[in-house]
């Protein structure tokens, strides 16, 4: 195999109370990486996927992850990478993780798949750390699909959880930007014991709701007392949009990743559409336009895709 194309889905990181520890893969949009073996040991980014992304292989998530794969697998080959970004660059929809995972999986396939899922996450984490921060809550769902619990990052111990297929996810991105770094620096360094334990109970409620198919429990456990109160002031219109989502029948609503995208959960398509409209209407009242996406859970994660256009050698 000398050329391969791999797709990885977008995801919600920090799912509600699950700051750094719960992620959920969302069907629909994602990033794709086409990788071709080349002579020599260089990794080259032929297409970064977006005008503002660097083609420097030390700064592009897919290329950094591919290099990490070769390092971990002790293989050495040249690579040319074409990246197609289906996800926003920094909106809180797991775009950097999807590119990193797609790059890692593609590189691994090209050298005979020596790395298992845990090692692939390790490789993608090198890229995510360089461009967004050291966390696995987008990488794990982008690779494995479904809901993932990051029990431990060092060593990596990720649990893949089933989620009821009827769950619908509304992703709504208001028309302003927020850098991951700003979202992260707003977080408190310490929390009270009671807040810590309440938060732990909500994370457990999310997991119990998902694994037992109790969507109402999953929804009411989306109650984040650590990150959301710290980040909400950075996100104009969020509080109102969340209230609108809940009033429209959402099971639970919070910030996706570190924002500005927000997510709202629903038990069926019709309610999901109603929620989407209610959120968009609310942001409009706050002076912002909204990009909406409604999807199901992506339960597959990263996968090979047909090569749609033959990369031309340069």
């Amino acid at each position: 195999m000398t050329i391969v194309r791999v797709f990885a889905p977008g995801s919600i990181g920090n799912l509600g109370p699950g700051l750094d520890i719960i992620g959920l893969a969302v069907g629909g949009a994602g990033d794709s990486v086409t990788a071709e073996r080349t002579r020599g040991g260089q990794i080259e980014v032929a297409e970064a996927g977006h005008p503002t992304l660097s083609t420097d292989p030390d700064r592009h998530a897919a290329a950094i992850a591919a290099a990490a794969v070769f390092r971990l697998a002790r293989r050495r080959t040249g690579l040319r990478i074409w990246c197609e970004k289906g996800l926003p660059l920094a909106g809180g929809q797991g775009g950097s993780a999807a590119s990193a995972v797609a790059g890692a999986v593609a590189a691994n396939l090209l050298v005979g798949s020596p790395l298992d899922a845990t090692r692939l996450m390790e490789a993608a984490l090198v890229a995510e750390e360089a461009v967004a921060g050291r966390h696995l809550d987008n990488i794990a769902p982008a690779l494995l699909g479904g809901m993932t619990l990051i029990r431990s990052i060092d060593p990596i111990d990720v649990i893949r959880l089933r989620v009821p297929a009827r769950l619908r996810i509304v992703l709504a991105k208001p028309s302003y930007e927020l850098r991951t770094r700003d979202g992260r620096s707003a977080l408190p360094d310490t929390v009270s014991r009671s807040t810590a334990l309440y938060q732990a109970a909500q994370v457990a409620g999310v997991v119990a709701g998902a694994t037992t198919g109790d969507l109402a429990l999953l929804g009411r456990s989306i109650d984040d007392r650590i990150a959301e109160p710290a980040r909400a002031p950075l996100l104009p219109g969020f509080v109102e949009a969340k209230a609108a989502a809940l009033a429209a029948g959402s099971l639970g609503c919070s910030i996706s990743g570190s924002g500005p995208t927000i997510f709202a959960l629903a038990a069926d398509d019709r309610t999901a559409r109603r929620i989407g409209l209610a959120i968009a209407r609310s942001y409009r009242r706050s002076g912002f336009e909204t990009t909406l996406r409604i999807g199901s859970v992506d339960s597959t994660g990263a996968r090979e895709r047909p090569i749609v256009r033959r990369p031309t050698s340069r």
Copy 2:
């Protein structure tokens, strides 16, 4: 119905990382309350169940809980209570909660069961708060059986979780006492964000392991970074006993409730017995005798029992 006898099982509170939020009912020993309707509005404790327990109805868990049931149900009747303590008084095996739950269920039965499970927990919580502290992590499993997640105490939202039937539990009480109050005052008021999130991931791991039948996951998630480090110094020989339990094949081991009882989980009877012996040997080296109990999960919780001896009127 004028007389009834109700049994409630013992339980592990603070299951590993689940301080105040996860409890597990343990089969075997428990407390029983026989309650008989009497004329007049008084609640009388005919047998406290142990020489050191008060027969003052304002200070006995079963009587306080029964009074709370009548208050919540807006019923008024006299009651005479006989309590049989099968559980240690303050060892960390959920004794006060079992007495409270048995008292609440018995009182509720005698007035036609007007209260549902949530209201019964509310009544038992009045008693637990008076004698041990305001937490539900022993009350919920004593009432409902199995593993229980306390998602919220105010309002009460308790999730009953299935646990694999093959799980075995070793309870080991070394020959010294520790007051719940001392165990509680050792807890830190604040924790770092990273500790809070790690703890949350472990609680979620316990729940995911239980609901999906992954005992290895359940076991390795018994990793408490908040209560255990604070309480271990109050429990001579604990660190060594835990190491002995893990070396003998325990899936996970920590303090039961606020101690001094410790629990160790195993996947079968033979390993459970080996763990029990290893713990006892370890405590003996530290200068203590050990009372051992090995059981399965009690998946039923509080239930009526035949009246074995006819209480005599006085």
